[in-house]
């Protein structure tokens, strides 16, 4: 079974999804239980990735390779290193919570709804373990289909606008990547990521490729200024869609930078690192201020996601100058590890924040901040969770939100004082927008009759929020297992950055 572990992780949920479709729209209860069983099974199957992985080696493991499209030398080639495994297990873990979380929130075409989430899970796992660029691209694009469906069918009143915007952005981004990949294939005669990384490339093609990848992945992350699809998509998406979008799909952008931009175009990445760093810093500050004035909770958290994901791109690209100019490998590793920890942490924290908003929305059918106030009076347990996740959102030590930001800021200081100072501004602006939200929604006296009638979270909701809380605290108090999982893989990546391909 170990030889085909990754395939199982991809195809089990997809098969489960089709099984749910086959149940028909009238068997909602069965569809839910089926989806839950499949999601739990997938999560259990993903655990051997952690236990059987040789973290000290840090190489690609659990390899599967089969001929796929012989005519163009493309292979069904899967494998996972520490970086992939962290993201795959995040995916399988969050999917279980999402299936539990959406239990009661949708009553229309339930089987199709859960099917979309299961198919999505399989495709996302595929993205994180594809070692063949074409296979990666298929998963990367295919993943969008269930997400469009989730937003477009079960979304809010402006779902068509949001879906269209989402579609335009991502399609625009990925078409450049496809052209870039085709170019690379024609140069290397292979889609193998390792071969593409070893391919000698002049500075000009590297620069073109770098920008092709940048557009594709920057939209996914999303980076300023291509972030405006995210708030709209979140606002219109149903809760489960938002959780998956924030917790996992955004990570694909960061993952893409690590797997494609850095190894394939290291020289161009170094040359244009300043641009990505500048975009990241603008995101931290600009988006922080924009988040401050949002009136819709979901938009606020969506903007806060953009600001937090900026630490991912900052940590990744700060590493280039550190290792190639200053020869400071330790700091480069710290930056990339920080970026990875930030991705995992954001998976928990943003997933939890969107789940919390979902809990409120299910009761009040409003996401507007002004409709709330004094929720702690009627929902004390919910308030406790909300405050915990808010603290994680503003990077309080002891929560996972601190770890990644801390590592990235420490690494940035080694490159430049001002980069660190601008990034550290998140301490202030992040606290400002998060705590102001807490103040307006949670604290205070009961503001209206609707709030007065609120019921505290039930057991199912407590389970979801409790699981997120446990992970947030675990990673915050003891990140070593997570950093250890990725350490050797990150070190390989940093070593690879030293290779000069041009000229």
């Amino acid at each position: 079974m170990m030889q085909s572990l990754l395939s199982i992780l991809i195809w089990l949920p997809i098969a489960g999804g089709f099984a749910a479709l086959a149940l028909g729209t009238h068997r909602a209860k069965e569809a839910r239980w089926l989806a839950l069983a499949v999601a739990i099974a997938t999560f259990i199957v993903s655990i051997p990735l952690l236990t059987n992985y040789d973290a000290a080696a840090g190489t690609m493991q659990f390899i599967e390779q089969h001929r796929w499209i012989a005519a163009i030398n493309s292979n069904y080639h899967l494998g996972a290193d520490g970086i992939s495994i962290a993201l795959i297990v995040l995916t399988t873990f969050v999917t279980v919570l999402v299936i539990v979380g959406i239990w009661d929130s949708v009553h229309d075409k339930v089987n199709q709804y859960v099917a979309a989430f299961l198919v999505l899970e399989g495709l996302m796992v595929g993205v994180f373990c594809a070692l063949d660029a074409l296979l990666f691209y298929v998963f990367f694009e295919g993943m969008l289909i269930p997400m469009f469906i989730i937003i477009g069918i079960w979304g809010g009143p402006r779902r068509v606008y949001a879906t269209l915007k989402f579609f335009l952005y991502t399609f625009f981004g990925s078409i450049f990547m496809l052209v870039g990949l085709i170019y690379l294939y024609m140069q290397a005669g292979s889609w193998e990521l390792s071969q593409l990384a070893a391919l000698k490339l002049g500075m000009t093609p590297q620069s073109w490729l770098f920008f092709a990848f940048l557009i594709a992945f920057a939209v996914k992350v999303p980076m300023w200024p291509v972030h405006t699809w995210l708030p709209d998509a979140h606002v219109e998406a149903p809760t489960g869609g938002s959780v998956i979008l924030a917790a996992i799909m955004l990570k694909i952008g960061g993952y893409g930078f690590l797997r494609f931009s850095l190894p394939i175009t290291p020289d161009a990445s170094q040359q244009f690192a300043w641009l990505v760093i500048a975009m990241s810093l603008i995101a931290v500050i600009y988006i922080g201020y924009v988040a401050l004035v949002q009136e819709d909770m979901k938009k606020l958290v969506a903007y806060s996601s953009v600001a937090h994901m900026a630490f991912v791109t900052l940590g990744i690209f700060i590493a280039l100058g550190l290792v190639r100019v200053s020869g400071n490998k330790d700091a480069a590793q710290l930056g990339i590890s920080g970026a990875m920890v930030q991705m995992i942490s954001h998976g928990f924290v943003s997933g939890a924040m969107f789940s919390c908003i979902g809990v409120l929305y299910d009761r009040m059918h409003s996401r507007m901040i002004k409709d709330y106030g004094g929720v702690v009076n009627t929902m004390p347990w919910f308030a406790a969770f909300w405050v915990l996740f808010s603290m994680a959102n503003c990077g309080l030590p002891g929560t996972s939100g601190f770890v990644g930001e801390f590592m990235v800021i420490l690494a940035s200081f080694q490159a430049n004082f001002w980069i660190a100072a601008l990034a550290a501004f998140t301490l202030i602006i992040g606290a400002a927008y998060t705590l102001w939200l807490v103040k307006r929604v949670i604290w205070g006296d009961v503001t209206n009759d609707h709030v007065a009638k609120l019921k505290d979270i039930n057991g199912r909701e407590a389970l979801v929020l409790g699981a997120f809380a446990a992970m947030t605290l675990l990673v915050g108090v003891w990140p070593q297992p997570l950093t250890h999982l990725m350490d050797a893989s990150v070190k390989h990546l940093v070593d690879q950055l030293l290779i000069v391909k041009a000229g």
Partner: protein, 670 residues
């Protein structure tokens, strides 16, 4: 001999366990269970802290410095959770756990009628854990951990009465202002890692030469000394936590929290974390004269100017709060002249007498049914003798009456600042000297307005309002006569009164003139401190009677006595005569409205501009919707999307994918 690591773990974790039980299982354990479990935890910590202190001072134990576990290890950089327990730490542990224990007991009485009883105990026990992690840390990371954790608990406790709009504003303000300090602090820590490649105290303090001659380019072409940059950054953190000007604005507002936490967190322990931190990092601060001068000027400014505000306050807690700001300024000024042991010594004496004063104020507030305005008090001495006497003891200690605890520590600070030749020392000397007069004046004003003079409240019998709501009655009207607080309140007062009198005399020899702190504190060039022979605590007190600080305090006492005991009308006349000055103090130098206008409203306006102008205006309207509209027009996508059938979408997408792959195949083949 080595300290037992298990004991250290128990000291830290016992309060945490109490907090978890009282917090999560609050309904199961009930009120009695909650206070029993938290008090037991903190009492255990306190007893073991005394034991650790005993072991270090008399038992011949070595300084303990070990890691508990690895927090992360990435490349060659690692961070740990671990304990460094030397005499400085042990002193802090004793102060923190002792004051915390007193506050726990006191809370039984103070919060007796509150619905959030268990929650409150959970928070203060959690605070004790966080504060212990902070002081026991052996590295910068864990220090920051504790630093932010105490900030979190402070946030939760200031907003404890979450229905009050003022409380939930104050806690947000406190957190954000503290974050401004933490911003600097984090950069300082990043700087330490950059130059030392380690975050462990032991390594960093043993290799301070790594900073010598190193520079950082902050503003183009003009390199700064790395030591100066790092120390100022770290000190900015201390300015936030220890409420130094201009980051002091959160502390007076923190009085929105229940009084026990004002005593514990916002007077005795948390706010002194900044002082402790700088003292702990004395080997670094000694590398930069510039940074120390900066510390000195900030501290002295805080000491004098925030004390002045205390004179015009009418809320009993706010007077004590401004007094706390001012005393923190004294400690900071002492740090600035390298008198670290004097600063820490004052930290300790202040912890006892300021906790006493706050708890005394709380006792008064209970008696007055949550009325805090001193204008409606007066003459309480006959109703509550224990509170009255202990408040006098606290006041005498605060004002530096020779023989009392505060005398030894404050005198040492004034003397050290006076003898310093550091840049800014002359200004600082005048600030701390005149501050003594101010301290005496507002302290005795508080005593007289509260306990002496005429009763300015009326007792309305027979109005059965009940106790359910705090602060909803008319000012100056009580339902029944004020009476002394219960034993759980008065016992902690008495227990704190004892060290407020004697702790200075007992420890001054060892802490200031002996080598109590040993290698915990490092002073490069001893200035003033230690230059004099120690003559014994009694002769110091006698000598103190002839020094300017005593006479300044005495004049403050006389003036307050004259105005508030014998001629109250003069207070109003002076207020009229010096209206601009009074107004400036009443408005607290306009810090709050300016911050509110510039940072809060300015930030919101800025954010709105970016949102409406940048995101919606430029990116969405022009770039995205423009192209979306074009697509929609040509392809009729909107109508197509609205069909709503899952298979339509899926089919279209898959078709697109197949088309792309087919095209690709064709390209490659051709």
């Amino acid at each position: 001999m080595q300290l037992n690591p298990t004991i250290l773990l128990i000291i830290a974790l016992a309060p945490l366990l109490g907090a978890i039980v009282a917090g999560i299982f609050r309904n199961q354990v009930g009120r009695i269970g909650a206070h029993t479990v938290t008090i037991a935890g903190v009492a255990l910590s306190c007893a073991l802290s005394f034991y650790v202190l005993y072991q270090l001072v008399w038992g011949g134990a070595q300084t303990y410095n070990e890691n508990v576990y690895t927090w992360f290890q990435v490349g060659g950089i690692d961070a740990h959770i671990g304990f460094l327990v030397d005499r400085l730490t042990a002193m802090m542990m004793v102060v923190v756990t002792f004051v915390s224990l007193m506050v726990h007991v006191y809370t039984i009485g103070y919060m007796a009628e509150d619905d959030g009883y268990q929650r409150f105990f959970s928070y203060i026990a959690l605070f004790t854990f966080s504060m212990l992690m902070l002081v026991m840390s052996n590295n910068f990371l864990q220090l920051f951990f504790g630093w932010e954790a105490v900030g979190l608990v402070s946030y939760l406790l200031i907003g404890f009465w979450f229905k009050r709009p003022t409380a939930v504003f104050a806690n947000m303000k406190a957190f954000i202002v503290n974050r401004v300090g933490d911003f600097g602090f984090l950069l300082g820590i990043a700087g330490v890692l950059y130059f030392f490649h380690s975050l462990d105290y032991g390594y960093v303090f043993a290799h301070t030469e790594a900073l010598s001659g190193k520079t950082l380019e902050i503003f183009g072409g003009d390199p700064w000394s790395a030591a100066t940059v790092i120390c100022i950054c770290l000190f900015v953190g201390a300015m936030g936590k220890s409420a130094q000007v201009p980051l002091h604005v959160w502390l007076p507002d923190s009085m929105e929290g229940p009084t026990p936490i004002s005593a514990l967190i916002h007077a005795a322990t948390m706010v002194t974390a900044g002082i402790f931190m700088v003292a702990r990092m004395s080997p670094l601060f000694e590398l930069s004269e510039t940074a120390l001068s900066f510390v000195l000027v900030i501290g002295a400014t805080t000491a004098f100017f925030t004390g002045l505000i205390g004179i015009v306050q009418n809320d009993i807690k706010r007077v004590v709060a401004y007094s706390t700001l001012s005393q923190l300024g004294y400690m900071t000024a002492a740090l600035g002249v390298s008198a670290y042991s004097a600063a820490v010594f004052h930290l300790m004496t202040h912890a006892f007498f300021k906790a006493l004063l706050f708890l005394g104020a709380g006792s008064v507030i209970i008696a007055m049914h949550h009325e805090q305005d001193m204008r409606y008090m007066g003459g309480l001495r006959k109703y509550m003798p224990i509170t009255f006497i202990t408040a006098w003891i606290g006041t005498l200690a605060l004002t530096g009456m020779p023989g009392f605890a505060g005398f030894y520590s404050k005198d040492a600070i004034i003397e050290a600042v006076g003898e310093s030749h550091r840049w800014g020392a002359t200004y600082a000397y005048w600030c701390v000297l005149l501050g003594v007069f101010v301290t005496a004046f507002y302290s005795f004003r508080l005593l007289y307005l509260t306990f002496h003079g005429k009763e300015r409240f009326a007792v309305d019998h027979g109005h059965g309002h009940g106790h359910d709501d705090h602060g909803h009655h008319e000012p100056g009207h009580l339902e029944h006569e004020p009476h002394e607080s219960p034993a759980v309140v008065t016992w902690p007062l008495m227990a704190l009164a004892v060290p407020s009198i004697v702790i200075g005399a007992l420890t001054v020899g060892a802490m200031l003139y002996g080598d109590y702190f040993g290698s915990s504190i490092h002073v490069a060039h001893a200035e003033g401190e230690g230059a004099h022979e120690f003559q014994g605590w009694l002769s110091m007190a006698v000598h103190g009677l002839m020094q300017p600080p005593f006479w300044l305090a005495f004049s403050g006492f006389l003036l307050a006595t004259y105005i508030y005991l014998f001629n109250p009308a003069i207070a109003d006349k002076t207020k009229q005569a010096l209206y601009p000055l009074w107004n400036m103090l009443d408005k607290k130098y306009w810090f709050d409205p300016v911050y509110q206008a510039v940072f809060a409203r300015g930030g919101i306006a800025f954010g709105r501009g970016l949102w409406k102008g940048g995101d919606t205006g430029v990116i969405d309207n022009v770039l995205i919707d423009g192209s979306a509209a074009a697509v929609a027009r040509t392809a009729g996508v909107v109508r197509w999307l609205q069909t709503g059938y899952l298979y339509t979408y899926a089919f279209a997408m898959i078709l697109g994918l197949v088309f792309l792959l087919g095209g690709l195949w064709w390209v490659v083949r051709g």
